[in-house]
Symmetry: C2
Subunit: 365 residues, 2 copies
């Protein structure tokens, strides 16, 4: 908690830069996605977007079957906060990491992605040492060309390798269609997504034809939740960004279904000449790899970020801005923006109603 | 502290991604800059680079007269850790901020930049309310065209406004030549720097001619410390990045005097095909606004970052890399990279010898 945040204070009194979460919009996004996945296909949202145990628990209350994490240290924090069903959707490798994973698996249902035999050996050995069992899904490259098995032959070989380990439980396959979640044209996105889904589901069918039980077939981001989420054979979806709807996703998907809920509140600290204002939010409060984030202010354009300054070019209609005025900035990329902040200032009816710690911030290990 | 970090462990056992500080090189950089400023011009290093009270105290032990901060919340943390002489080199404005500054000024020597009369009014009122006195320097635009007074007339007007406030103490002027610290050609950098220095020193002389006592004339970054630091009339220098020497500054200045001391240690988590390795450090551990950071590994090139992955293209000479191998990445921009991490893993003789908390990480308020 922070000595300068008092529940009930007017949102204009929150010290800036502050990460503001609009509770009503957040709840609407949460419920809408929960409703979409109330059928046989389930939601296992990726918590890399919010990194907040309170939000993860809200997602589970809204129907999610568990959570997806990017990293072991995120999973450790989430487990400490009572989450019992976790998929780590990346490989866990390196000194001491399999052992930490095996320790974590003693008590909760943990699953981890693999794409490498030596890593499977390490995980199996650690699980035996700790007397626990680690669930394993094979990551399949579905066109994103990052990690993941490159062929059916390799996938089958990995499955055999996993099933030979007493400490591991083969659970299924996962593949992230990250190469098409941001494709603006919906038809093109859908076509590319189906091709990706086919590789993944065909991999699952191939494994079943060799006698493997494939319980999990996991895919999907916010840009493809309604494509992968209806593709026959996919069992669960990892979407996460739907909660906040940053500028990037809103530009692709519109804001009819899911609405922007996350803002960085900033203050004008200098107005040195006509047409120019400097705000107190820079690269240490906002990210810009998906383009410069923009103010919620007609006639103002964010032209650049330095470490602790944002540079607003003002048309005459916005040139009334003065030192001390507040400006809301809409993040272009929610996931990385959240990772810069320690807490959400949760706002409803123009008041601070809660402060939610971002307990997984910086948990990249 | 972190349960997975044990003092004395081999550096190969540190969980990755980890921010590694080479203690010997850090100490050499620290002492070298301290020696440069052992004459009449003083060093007041900017702690936005390291955000770490332990390092700030080391800088003071090495001769610095105090520290420079970017934000009020950084200054609050540094004051809690015993730093007694602080310049906040930006404007402190917005609800509650002047009051916090006035509270902080009761007991320590605090100075803040101003460029606006309304802000001066707010600071003066808060200081009176709290019975403290806030030191004030006028920020002068020396060509960076961000914040700061745009003319001698404006500077003089601001000085009169400050001197009329009982709660404020006029201390001098500051100006950051940020528009030329990264100019690669040293002659061009020096020429541009002298032009910037002249504006600042002339502003100080102008104020003295009107009867103002100008104690502080503050300028300088790492790229210009040896230019601004010898310009007649400059009294103190704000350089900070010299401690770490990131890829950007090293590209401009070379590594003869100050040497790279900061690394992000990463682990290969996937080796899915020849010529490609994925490491566990992405945009949540490394920044890239100054270009992609690069590995300390011959034949390997970092081609891209996603949130939790770095994509290494490998020439045949580096294609031996396997899952679990460690790769050191040299940050291209130390200041923003540090702001992603919670602690420095301080390494000497290949062992972890200390863990230094980055207590000002995220302190952008």
């Amino acid at each position: 908690m922070n000595a300068n945040l008092i529940i009930g204070m007017a949102k204009e009194q929150i010290p800036t830069p502050a990460l503001i979460l609009d509770l009503d919009i957040f709840q609407a996004n949460l419920q809408r996605m929960g409703a979409f996945f109330s059928g046989p296909v389930k939601l296992r949202p990726h918590i890399k977007t919010h990194k907040c145990p309170i939000i993860a628990l809200e997602q589970i209350r809204a129907g999610a079957i568990g959570i997806t994490c990017a990293k072991l240290s995120e999973a450790e924090v989430m487990a400490e906060h009572g989450i019992r069903d976790i998929l780590i959707a990346n490989q866990v490798a390196g000194y001491g990491k399999p052992e930490r994973l095996a320790a974590l698996a003693d008590g909760i249902d943990i699953k981890v992605a693999v794409d490498n035999k030596a890593n499977i050996d390490d995980l199996g050995r650690a699980a035996l040492d700790f007397g626990s069992r680690i669930g394993v899904v094979i990551e399949v490259n579905v066109g994103n060309d990052r990690c993941g098995s490159r062929s059916f032959e390799e996938t089958l070989d990995l499955a055999h390798h996993i099933s030979a380990k007493k400490g591991l439980i083969f659970k299924g396959v996962m593949g992230y269609e990250g190469h098409c979640v941001f494709t603006a044209d919906k038809t093109a996105r859908s076509t590319a997504c189906r091709s990706a889904n086919k590789i993944l589901v065909d991999s699952a069918e191939m494994l079943r034809s060799h006698g493997f039980e494939v319980e999990i077939v996991s895919a999907g981001g916010t840009g493809t939740y309604d494509m992968s989420g209806i593709y026959p054979g996919i069992t669960e979806i990892e979407a996460g960004s739907y909660l906040f709807m940053d500028g990037c996703y809103s530009g692709i998907m519109g804001n009819d279904l899911f609405r922007p809920a996350l803002w960085v509140l900033s203050t004008v600290i200098s107005k040195p000449e006509p047409g120019l204002a400097l705000i107190d939010a820079g690269m240490k409060s906002l990210t810009h790899e998906f383009g410069l984030p923009q103010p919620l202010l007609s006639g103002a354009v964010l032209k650049g970020l330095s470490e602790e300054h944002g540079r607003l070019a003002l048309l005459p209609e916005a040139d009334y801005l003065k030192v001390g005025d507040l400006v809301y900035i809409w993040p272009s990329h929610g996931c990385t923006t959240v990772n810069l902040h320690d807490r959400y200032c949760v706002v409803k009816n123009n008041r601070l109603v809660a402060v939610w710690e971002i307990a997984c911030r910086g948990k990249s290990q």
